[in-house]
């Protein structure tokens, strides 16, 4: 075991950790918003919308994330330069990076899993509470904002915490599309120092710390609104 390389490589490791956390935050943040829409479409949408949302979730949950990532990066990525004006626009430096494709495909994938969780939670909110809201004369949007969604999110909170950890464990895939995340840093250190296991171990410790941080944070949030059983 040789850990003398850490002093030379720690800036790289920290940069990698930042990329990993950034990918996680983007995919969970935007994915959650998308998931709310998808879950609502499945619960109260008209039939065509319901089928569309259901199909989206089945497709994204039924195929490996790696294939989705490569479909975006290699497949969609090869079409993007054909869009007139995109290469001259200010968006191009962002859109040509692997990070962009990783963020997009992780977001779409996370949304599919999260929508399924939220769908169940929306259906699990006691009917009486919604009826009470309606009896107060709340409009559908107010009802959703004040009662339905907060209650559903509270019910789903433990599951959401698990999904966020699963999403964290999915982020190393981004290294296959040139993102310099934590895992990619370990790979680079291996190439430079010819050490196989030590970089992997250090990076693993990082992931475990992040996992602990996420579970702690969710436990704190859950304690804010205790559920009486």
């Amino acid at each position: 075991m040789d850990f003398s390389w850490i002093s030379a490589y720690w800036p790289l490791i920290v940069a990698g950790a930042v990329q990993t956390v950034l990918l996680l935050a983007i995919s969970v943040g935007f994915g959650f918003l998308l998931a709310i829409g998808l879950a609502l479409a499945q619960v109260i949408g008209p039939r065509w919308l319901r089928w569309l949302a259901k199909g989206y979730c089945t497709a994204f949950r039924g195929t490996p994330l790696l294939i989705q990532l490569w479909l975006f990066y290699y497949g969609v990525g090869s079409f993007l330069p054909m869009i007139p004006g995109l290469r001259e626009s200010i968006l191009w430096p962002i859109v040509r990076e692997g990070f962009f494709f990783a963020a997009v495909s992780f977001t779409l994938n996370y949304a599919a899993y999260e929508a399924e969780v939220l769908r169940g939670a929306l259906l699990a909110v006691p009917k009486g509470e919604l009826e009470a809201g309606r009896a107060f004369g709340m409009r559908p949007l107010t009802l959703l904002r004040r009662i339905w969604l907060p209650r559903a999110i509270r019910i789903a909170l433990p599951t959401i915490g698990g999904e966020v950890v699963l999403q964290l464990k999915a982020t190393p895939l981004a290294f296959t599309v040139t993102v310099m995340d934590l895992y990619a840093v370990a790979y680079k250190i291996r190439q430079n120092t010819l050490l196989v296991y030590e970089p992997l171990m250090v990076v693993t410790v990082f992931y475990i710390c992040l996992t602990l941080l996420i579970t702690r944070a969710f436990r704190l949030v859950e304690q804010q609104v205790p559920i009486r059983r």
Binding site: G75, S78, L168, Y183, T204, T211
Partner: protein, 240 residues
Amino acid sequence: MSPSLSIWELLAPTPPGWGGVLLTGAVSTVLISLGAYLLGIGIGLLGATGKLKGSRPVVALLDIYTTAVRAIPELILIIGLYYAGTDGINRLLTAIGLPSIEINGFLAAVMVLGIVQGAYMTEVLRGAILAIPIGQIEAASAFGMRPWLRFRRVVLPALMPNALPGMANLWMSVTKDSALIAVVGYQELALATRLAAGNTKHYFLFFFAAALLYLAITLLSNLLFTGLERHFRRGQPVSA
């Protein structure tokens, strides 16, 4: 690049089409998954028994195993186990004076995914065994059934309905996790697709085709598991 080929010519099963390569890849994906799944069930059964009945050090060891596997990203686990496994076996062989061997990629993939599956399976089976009313198992012991007979006639049939939903989830995740084997270079569906796409430059077409193949595997497995669950739940009240 061969611009003259149409979509159907590209996907044809024989060269110059790449359909055959993709289908062979899909078959090896299913085989890897099946092998890993069976290995996972074996590890899971042993692990669940160990966690429920083992001595304290055994329980502690199994706890470390299941927690570690579930806390570390799959990609890192797979790559780590792949290198550590093949490297370890070769070091062992040289230590006892045998020439080092080229580890079969298929076997390595099955072992690596199976070890990952085993950790999750341990938890699924442990929960399912705990959900069996203890009186049923005690009744079997009171009849003088030996452990193996008791397992076969009482525990297993009572465990299956509880375990099947979790086991179905695990099968879905192993078929998708097997795509990660592409990163260590064994040619299953994901790597075959990358090869086909890279050679023809029709990236979107081939990755889309692969996604459809994976989806087909998932949907077919869904049907299979629904049928299995109906079979194992026969005679139980429907509402449960």
